[in-house]
Structure formats: structure tokens, C-alpha cells
């Protein structure tokens, strides 16, 4: 090769034409090389986004979490920046962190931990107190935030916190903490950012009930102690906390460089302490405590903790008396060019089926909805609205990545109308047995645009994430029928929709998949 190189050099010295050609190649190389260099940030971002979707953490940044915001205020005061498709939210106490800590599923749930979600759901009050360290992607320093959250399940009130990751004018990520106080009817959102401001929102009784339940499920999901997250815990020690003998349960997500530890009273199954540890650096094997909090159940909330008086010095965007009404049950919005699909709410049933309310509209198109729903029987194909959610898939990055063969087929269940807007209630049945004992599941919607039939099978974007908690055996009426009534001008669910009817429809849909079976 050296000899060839030398001969080429000699030739170039004596041949002007080849020398000119070679010079032009060098110029091309410089120009295209510079172009490619400018693309590398894009490639690095691409790598990060893929790894965030798969593992919940980026390849080059400090681990952070990527999670849909809390369900409570539907329209946050702080406009949150989005990094490409991924939205970073960090929850203090009750929300956030779930993607980061998604466990890799093992063979079976640990004995003893399965009592924890049950005990928390039946508690009168839950108090969580501790701290959390937040590090923005690429951030130079850590931010430590106190956790001091109360959920009063008996009186339907709570006080929780949350941190948004957003960007400042210089493009740097900054954490913006906020707090939510809910008194059973009003939500007070306090943002403690550069601009400290307060906004009030008022809820209907059903919205309040749903928000409380969702808040509790967020806690379980975030702390990796819901039914869907218990796999992988092993007992690693024993300690006495506040007079209770506690087993220490540890779940290490080695691929992610994280672990959670739970101190659970061996007599009652009550969780007493929770910790989240992370490898300080990929190159350093030592663990660093990122968050810890103690959990107290059935304590008495201190006086004033649910007061709706804004602290002094905060800018008031409105007052409690002038609180804006919380509209509908808005959950998530998808856009396909001119077509918009909004998911109002969804619930997972214990057999793994999902009931979801959604609506769709298209700019500049006449609303075809009225005729679409005429004589549409339950079990029929999902109506051909401008955009329709024909099915659900496993979301990349969710716990069920290894269950990628499961999908959910949608069928019409019912329609409700609110202020002229029809809400389609669809029933999504898994393509194989996939029961859900409890906790939160995450789905990616299969959205189809009508009439061209173009489908988005977007299973990777966290902002297309649909979270749903699992209804208990006695909750169908309270939540499914309650939500139907909420989204119906008549304030009642369609009479034929009952738990038994839905179970029967699920069975029919499953049976119809067998070769030669009639459609339901």
C-alpha cells in the first residue's frame, strides 16, 4: 500500500489534470465532512431517544426520567419543553420516575411485597416525607427537592408536588417545581419557578374522584410498588423502624443501573420507607441515594395542609372563587395532519381488556358523526371518524416490552354526547390471554386516519403514552359508568352498559377470533 501511495504521489506531482481532480476531491471531503459533523448532534440525540424509549435512560446523559405529567391539572401553567418526542417530567413524591425505574420482568412476584399496594389503597391517609435529587440532562449540578405529600383518601383531599424539566432561554434544562393542593373540589397549582404563580381549577365530583384515584395509582407506579411492578423484588435484610419489624425488599434493575428498596412491616404489609438508588456514574460501581422517603399510613394530616391560601408573594392567575372549570376528562391528544384524536379517559379491566373514551375531528371537514353512530351495535367495528383508535399496542419502554406480541383489537361499545360532541367508547380486547391483576398499564394507540386508512403504529413516543389504572372488581360502576355519565349531557350511562354486558362482549369478541366463528 505504501508503494502504491508513493507512486500515486509521484504521479500527482507530474500530472496537472489528476492533481486538479484530487484537489477537487479534497474540497468535496472538507465540505461533506463538515456537513456530516453538523449531523452528529442529531445522531447523538437519536441514540439517546432510542435508549430512553428502551431503557428509560439516555446513553450519554445522566439518568433521568421521562414520564407523562400528573393527571391532576389538565393545563399546566408552565409550558413544558419537549425534547423531540420525549417529554421529561420528574415527579416529587407522587408522580414521575416510572419510565426510569421500569423493571425488567422476572419470573414471579416476590412474596410479601404483594401486600403493599393493597394496604396503601385501603388506607385512610398516606403521608410521604423525604427528598429527591433531580439532575437535568447535561446539567452541571444536582437539585434537591423536599417531598412532603399527603393523600387523604377518606376525605378526598391531597397535597402533592412535581417537577417539570423545562428549558430556559439559553437552552439549558432547568427543573421547575410545583405543588398541587386539592380540597375535594378545587385544585390549587403553585409553580415555584423564576415566576412564582398560582392558578385554581374546579372539578366536578366525578373528576375529583378520578383525580384522587389516579394520584394514588401514580404513587404506586412511580415507586415501583404497584402490582405490575412487584416482580424482581427479593428480601435482602431486616430492620426495625418506628416499632415495626420490617423486611427490606430490593429490586435491582442492573441494565438500568438503578435499584429500589422498600422497608415493609412484616406483620401488616405496610410500607414504611422507600429508597431509590442509582449508580453515580457508569464507570463507578458505587451506589448513590437519589431519593428516600418514609411512609406513614392512617396518620392525621396537620392543620392547614390542605388549605387553599396561596403563599405571599405569588402571582395569582385567578382566585379560588374565579377558578376555571376543569373541562371533561381530557387525557391525551394526537394529531395526524388535519385530524385530531382526543382520548378522554381509559380503564383497564382485570381480564386485560381496556375501555376507552375518545373523540375525533378534522379541520375543514363536515362532522360525519351523527350518521356514523346510528344503529351502531356494541361489538361492531370502531366507527370511521376522521381519526380513529382501532387498537392498542404495547408501548416501547413499558414493562411489557417482552410481551410485544400482545395487541388489543378495538370494537364499539357505546356512544355518549356532551355539548354536541360525540364520545366513542371502544372496548379493546387483547389478542391473547393477558390478565391484569392491578396497577397501571401503559399502551400505545393505533390511530387510523379516515378515509385514506393511513395508520400510525407509533409505539415509541412517550407523549403518545396512554396510562390506565386497573379497576377493582367493584369499581366498574363508579368509574366506567361514572365517566360515561360525566361525558353525557343526560348525565347517565347508556342503560345496556353493565359489567356483565362488557364481560359477555369480551367473550364474544374472543370467540369470534376462532376460525369460522361469526363476528359479534
Amino acid at each position: 500500500m505504501d508503494e502504491q501511495h508513493t507512486r500515486a504521489r509521484l504521479h500527482l506531482d507530474t500530472c496537472p489534470a489528476c492533481r486538479a481532480y484530487f484537489a477537487s476531491l479534497e474540497a468535496d471531503d472538507r465540505m461533506l465532512g463538515a456537513y456530516v459533523d453538523r449531523m452528529y448532534p442529531t445522531i447523538t440525540r437519536l441514540q439517546n431517544e432510542v435508549m430512553v424509549a428502551i431503557t428509560g435512560r439516555s446513553t450519554v446523559e445522566s439518568p433521568w426520567l421521562f414520564l407523562p405529567r400528573a393527571m391532576l391539572p389538565t393545563k399546566p401553567i408552565v409550558k413544558t419543553a419537549r425534547i423531540a418526542a420525549v417529554v421529561a417530567f420528574v415527579g416529587i413524591g407522587l408522580v414521575g420516575l416510572a419510565f426510569l425505574l421500569r423493571p425488567l420482568l422476572g419470573p414471579s412476584p416476590a412474596c410479601g411485597m404483594d401486600r403493599v399496594p393493597y394496604q396503601l389503597r385501603r388506607a385512610d391517609t398516606i403521608h410521604v416525607q423525604g427528598w429527591l435529587i433531580v439532575r437535568a440532562p447535561g446539567g452541571a449540578r444536582d437539585h434537591k427537592f423536599a417531598i412532603n405529600d399527603w393523600i387523604d383518601l377518606k376525605t378526598q383531599r391531597f397535597r402533592t408536588g412535581q417537577v417539570h424539566m423545562t428549558r430556559n432561554q439559553a437552552g439549558e434544562f432547568i427543573p421547575v417545581p410545583s405543588e398541587f393542593v386539592f380540597d375535594g373540589r378545587h385544585t390549587m397549582e403553585m409553580v415555584h419557578g423564576d415566576v412564582r404563580q398560582v392558578q385554581f381549577e374546579v372539578s366536578t365530583p366525578f373528576q375529583a374522584k378520578l383525580a384522587l384515584r389516579q394520584t394514588l395509582e401514580h404513587l404506586l407506579d412511580w415507586a415501583q410498588i404497584g402490582e405490575q411492578k412487584l416482580t424482581g423484588y427479593t428480601r435482602t435484610g431486616h430492620e426495625r423502624i418506628g416499632g415495626d419489624d420490617c423486611d427490606i425488599w430490593t429490586n435491582e434493575y442492573s441494565a438500568l443501573g438503578h435499584k429500589t428498596m422498600c422497608w415493609v412491616a412484616s406483620g401488616s404489609g405496610n410500607i414504611k420507607r422507600w429508597q431509590w438508588w442509582a449508580k453515580a456514574d457508569e464507570t463507578v460501581p458505587s451506589w448513590r441515594l437519589m431519593s428516600t422517603f418514609d411512609v406513614e399510613t392512617n396518620g392525621t394530616p396537620p392543620a392547614g395542609v390542605f388549605d387553599m391560601n396561596p403563599p405571599e408573594g405569588m402571582r395569582l392567575l385567578n382566585s379560588q372563587a374565579g377558578a376555571r372549570e376543569r373541562l371533561g376528562l381530557e387525557h391525551r391528544r394526537f394529531t395526524l395532519e388535519d385530524v385530531e384524536v382526543q382520548v378522554a379517559t381509559l380503564f383497564t379491566l382485570t381480564d386485560g381488556s381496556v375501555i376507552m373514551a375518545w373523540r375525533s375531528s378534522a379541520q375543514g371537514r363536515e362532522d360525519p358523526a351523527a350518521s356514523l353512530f346510528e344503529n351502531l351495535p356494541a361489538g361492531a367495528e370502531v366507527p370511521k371518524l376522521p381519526g380513529r383508535i382501532v387498537g392498542l399496542k404495547v408501548l416501547v419502554g413499558s414493562d411489557f416490552l417482552d410481551e410485544a406480541d400482545v395487541s388489543w383489537t378495538g370494537r364499539h361499545l357505546a356512544v355518549t354526547r356532551q355539548a354536541g360532541t360525540p364520545y366513542e367508547w371502544s372496548l379493546y380486547v387483547p389478542t391473547r390471554d393477558f390478565p391484569c391483576p392491578g396497577g397501571t398499564r401503559s399502551y400505545a394507540p393505533l390511530v387510523e386516519r379516515y378515509p385514506d386508512g393511513w395508520q400510525s403504529e407509533d409505539t415509541r413516543r412517550s407523549d403518545w403514552l396512554l396510562n390506565s389504572f386497573t379497576l377493582g372488581a367493584d369499581e366498574f360502576e363508579a368509574f366506567v359508568l361514572g365517566a360515561m355519565a360525566e361525558l353525557n349531557d343526560g348525565q347517565a350511562a347508556p342503560g345496556y352498559v353493565t359489567g356483565a354486558f362488557v364481560r359477555q362482549l369480551v367473550d364474544q369478541i374472543r370467540a369470534s377470533r376462532k376460525p369460522g366463528s361469526p363476528q359479534p
Partner: protein
Amino acid sequence: MDVDAEEKLIAACRDGDRSAYGDLIRAHSGRVFAICLGILGNRHDAEDVAQQALLKGFMEIRSLRDPDRFGRWIAQIARNLCLDVVRRRKPPLVMPSVADNVEQVDTDEYRRLEAALAKLDSDYRVPLLLFYFEGRSTKSIGEALGTTQGTIQTRLSRARKQLRQWLATEGDVP
């Protein structure tokens, strides 16, 4: 990355080690992106489809028959996805993004080069980008694209010539 190391990473991915995939995509995302950019002609679509391809690669890694051919396999996934997009001729989903905020301000020269690249036929653009993104040999690019080394050399030469012509003209790329 040598073949042995890559095979070990693939085996780890198949066993559920998601972080191992990070090492794999660090080695191959440049190629995937270059292919997508080459076929689709604009970086935003390319980034979107490249992301899909890399995720699809992870989801389907158990179906990879020859662990020493990951690069070609993921490249094929990317090409197929790009061709789907081209066939559908539908714009991507409208998603809010601040990605543009973090990118450098484009100079006129850069914009003209990008416009010229976008105008280039994808048969020329793909090998050109693979050549510069990956620093790959013409033989390797030929193998990746299922054609001969000679064809790649010809396409590279024509691509450069065409770019030079366009960029030599004043004003917008014709």
C-alpha cells in the same frame, strides 16, 4: 466494533439486556441515519424513521439469524421503513418539538449544500452519505446496498460532480 464483541452484545440483547443495545446503536446509528437521510432527503424525516428503525431492530432482534450481520440487517430495516414512507407519500405525524432550538444556526453555504443534497437522486445520495458518515469503503457500501463496488464508485463520482455543478451556480440550488 469487532464481530465477536458485536455478537456478544446481540446475545445480551436477546437475553433482555437493554443497555447492550446502546453499544450496538452507537456503532450503527450513523449508518442508519445516513441511509434514511439518503432516501428521504431531509433530516427531520430521516431522524424520525431512523428512530423507528433502531427501535424496530431492538424489538425484533430475536429474529436476526446471523448475529454477525447486524449492520446489514438494521440497514435493511431502515431502508424498508424509508421506502414505506416514500410509497405512502404522507407527511410524518405533526408532533411538537424543540429539537430545532438546539441545532446550530444554518449558514447560507450549509443551506445550499443541504438543498443540493436533497435534490440529488437517492441512488447517489445514499452511498455518498454512507461514505462520509461511516467512512466506509466503497466495497463495504456496495455490500450494504446490495450492489458492486464499481457501481458505488461510479455513483460517488457522479454525485460529487453533480453537487459541484449545483453549488458552483449563484443563488438557490437549481
